[in-house]
């Protein structure tokens, strides 16, 4: 869906998305990392199970909720990506805080 500008710097960080290796650029948010990796949705809704992807990228809509390093309901667009992060798509309802 999105690509990086050719001169926008290298994606040097290594993360996993649902266990599969992916690359990320320092300075990106987790949500941007997912979009750059071509992930088409980052969660399914608790009510109907519909797939959702980041919508506002600024912390308003909460569509970007993902599990990061085992902690659920993290707002992917507000969390800077870090080397070694394990990012997981979130399915349905998560307990509000684990």
């Amino acid at each position: 869906m999105f690509r990086r500008l050719p001169d926008a710097g290298e994606a040097r960080l290594a993360v996993t998305i649902d266990g599969k290796p992916a690359r990320a650029r320092a300075g990106d948010s987790v949500a941007a990392t997912l979009l750059a990796a071509g992930v088409d949705h980052c969660r399914t809704t608790p009510v109907s199970g519909a797939p959702r992807a980041p919508y506002c990228m600024m912390g308003v809509c909460f569509e970007c909720l993902v599990t990061i390093d085992g902690v659920g309901n993290r707002q992917g667009c507000m969390v800077p990506v870090e080397d070694g992060m394990a990012i997981e798509i979130q399915h349905g309802r998560r307990e509000i805080e684990r």
Partner: protein, 475 residues
């Protein structure tokens, strides 16, 4: 990055939000010798317009344009001041006693301030059309954030739809960056031109006029623009595949698309201001809630002011001037003996503000979003979190539900994680229309702290002051 440990327990001035308004306000207060903290949840200063200005991976300056790079000056002035700027700091509560609840890197803290300047800016207005929840549909602002912060541009068939300056700005920036745009579907109603016309003369004198015109023409030369789109839908199985639209009431056209970027203006981000009990009025020109403030951004809550687009949409240049005024008021109250050379001249600021606010009414009227795109019908989702449709809301009004807070109990709308940020305006306007009364009469979701999610772990480390307990016990 600063951690909670670097924070002092109290400051003379706390500024919330590091956009143009907040950066300028913090630098002035600090320059006058007041201990000043600037809290912002982003990783770098800049706010929305100047997001990531110090660290954007977009290398060619021409891509984002001169107005964007102006932000560097504000960031430099902030860094050169003694203001304590704290990135990654999410403010989740503000009490009338000016105690601020803030989370930094997973730790929560309370900070006391003698004056608070809220500079939390604006949000994009909801754009509830059928299919707007499909992956592949996002806001133009979101796409612009991906460009500024990550140097990312769309890949695949891309359609922009909606109305307002930001939509055109994004198109222009994308074209500068080498992105290919398939179409711009302009939803500005034809009748708006007539309504805006009486204010055109004022707009001709606005600094936005020439820039705006140049930008518009430059985009129109390079992209197919469809005017007067009166009906818009996103369709697809599990993700966006088709954008369907009608010009006026004409036949439907269908475009294959991978990305649809929606925008119909911005509205003040009022959560923090509302939660502390600042009065808000329904603004019929801008179709949103606007806090009631005086000429310095001051509010009826003692010591709390609002600066920038959070006090009513007026744009980034106005935000800077309004930041100066809020800072002046704070300095006068806390340090009446501050040397005048350290402060901006009030008359000059007011003149500059009048200059950049000129013609705002023209923009408000011209880009007033059509009823059809603010007041959805049928199965179109209004509350994305709890998946509540327009029909459900209208039917619940018929059952006797008169306001948004009651609606929560019936339908859970506004009770998901976004706390009604995204559906609040739509729900108010839908109820108002169904009841045949004004949005002012219907009212809005009651907002209580925490206005941003905070984890139990973060709370556990907080001292149990009364304000802290009040802040987290939800009503």
């Amino acid at each position: 990055m600063s951690g909670t440990a670097d924070l002092r327990d109290s400051y003379d001035v706390a500024v919330i939000g590091a956009g143009p308004a907040g950066m300028v306000a913090a630098a002035i207060c600090a320059g006058a010798g007041l201990s000043t903290v600037l809290l912002d949840e982003q990783a770098a200063p800049g706010g929305q317009i100047y997001r990531a200005v110090g660290e954007t991976p977009v290398r060619r300056p021409a891509v984002l344009g001169n107005d964007y790079w102006h932000g560097e000056r504000l960031v430099r002035a902030l860094r050169a001041s003694t203001a304590h700027y704290v990135p990654g700091a999410t403010v989740w509560s503000l009490s009338r006693e000016r105690e601020i609840g803030v989370s930094i890197a997973g730790g929560a803290r309370l900070v006391q301030a003698r004056r608070v300047i809220i500079a939390t800016g604006a949000l994009e207005r909801p754009f509830p059309i059928p299919g707007w929840t499909l992956p592949g549909v996002m806001t133009a602002g979101a796409a612009q954030i991906l460009l500024k912060s990550s140097g990312m541009i769309p890949q695949g068939r891309t359609v922009l739809a909606g109305s307002g300056p930001l939509l055109w700005l994004l198109a222009w920036q994308y074209l500068n960056a080498g992105a290919k745009l398939d179409a711009i579907l302009d939803t500005t109603p034809r009748a708006n031109r007539k309504a805006a016309w009486p204010h055109a003369a004022a707009f001709l004198l606005s600094p936005y006029f020439r820039k705006g015109l140049r930008l518009l023409l430059s985009v129109r030369r390079r992209v197919r623009v469809v005017a007067e789109v009166g009906d818009l839908r996103a369709e697809g199985e599990g993700k966006l595949q088709t954008v369907a639209y009608r010009v006026g009431d004409g036949v439907e056209t269908r475009l294959s698309a991978d990305i649809l970027l929606l925008h119909q203006g911005v509205v003040p981000n009022v959560n923090l201001a509302m939660s502390v009990g600042i009065a808000h009025r329904w603004d019929e020109d801008q179709l949103c809630w606007t806090p009631v403030v005086d000429g310095f951004g001051g509010t009826a809550v003692d010591g709390v002011a609002i600066a920038g687009d959070g006090a009513g949409i007026a744009g980034a240049w106005a935000a800077e001037e309004r930041g100066k005024l809020a800072a002046l008021a704070a300095v006068r109250a806390l340090k009446p003996d501050a040397r005048r050379e350290q402060l901006p001249d009030e008359m000059q600021v007011r003149l500059a503000l009048a200059q950049v606010e000129r013609g705002r009414l023209f923009l408000d009227r011209l880009y007033r979003p059509a009823d059809r795109f603010r007041l959805p019908e049928g199965d179109t989702l209004v509350c994305r979190c709890e998946e509540v449709s327009a029909r459900q809301i209208v039917e619940t009004v018929a059952l006797g539900c008169t306001g948004p807070n009651q609606m929560k109990a019936f339908l859970r709308c506004g009770m998901g994680p976004c706390q009604g940020r995204l559906c609040g305006l739509t729900v108010t306007e839908l109820i108002a229309r169904a009841r045949g009364v004004s949005p002012a009469e219907v009212g809005r979701y009651r907002l209580r702290p925490p206005v941003k999610p905070i984890t139990l772990g973060e709370l556990a480390v907080l001292p149990k002051s009364e304000a802290a307990i009040k802040a987290v016990v939800r009503g």
